[in-house]
Symmetry: C2
Subunit: 133 residues, 2 copies
């Protein structure tokens, strides 16, 4: 992905990632596969999906075409102590408006971004849940 960690705080990386991810999701969903790797894990409403290929297939099979995310909160933390794996945890809450539906759905989503040697990040972990009232 296009993000780089050079000279940026984890909050800046997290915010840039969130903007990038939901912009792609709402406008060019199939490009999301560029954010994953062969080791990535997605848990979507309790279903575990392993690796970029199966994650891409899951994105293709979602039962809606157009949607719009509205982000309420973005929290982030470094995922490790000194000497650890150097990742960033991103915790998002918001709502998703599906095309043709009257009411938006509340959701929460957690990402674990892991750095690549050249300074960019990929999504190693992702967990998504709708929040039913």
């Amino acid at each position: 992905m296009a993000e780089t960690n050079k000279g940026r705080s984890e909050e800046e990386v997290a915010r840039a990632f969130v903007n990038h991810y939901y912009h792609l999701f709402d406008n060019d969903r199939f490009s999301l596969f560029t954010l994953y790797s062969s080791t990535s894990l997605l848990t979507f409403e309790g279903q575990k999906i392993y690796g970029v290929e199966d994650i891409f297939n899951k994105l293709k099979q979602l039962p809606f075409d157009q949607c719009r995310h509205l982000i309420s909160t973005v929290d982030s933390q470094p995922s490790s102590m000194a000497g650890g794996c150097g990742g960033i945890l991103v915790f998002v809450s918001g709502s998703i408006q599906l095309h043709g539906e009257d009411h938006p759905l509340r959701f929460s989503q957690t990402f674990h971004l892991v750095p690549l040697p050249q300074g960019s990040f990929f999504v190693q972990n992702e967990m998504f849940r709708l929040n039913y009232g």
Copy 2:
């Protein structure tokens, strides 16, 4: 903490941790400090708190005495690839009933559990948000 990772899947560790954490929170909240270390990070409703001492102080200052958590979903994943830091991500949704309040509040919470050499885990990362409808 009392959990050990010997021979257990990350789902079993996550489920045992969730049961332990919310049981302590609802019955013996001040014992929660045993789950943290000096490197732990808590983001509570957007406020960042660093280290076990300040986390303990935050727990003491919460503006309610009695509460009861009802857990709706627990998702978990290993937080790293082979050779990584060997942690477990835990993503919880549920509701919290405060004593004297009519309606429970929806919440989402993410934990990153990191193993200690002797096989137990501590909470390296935690992020908590109420989910407002």
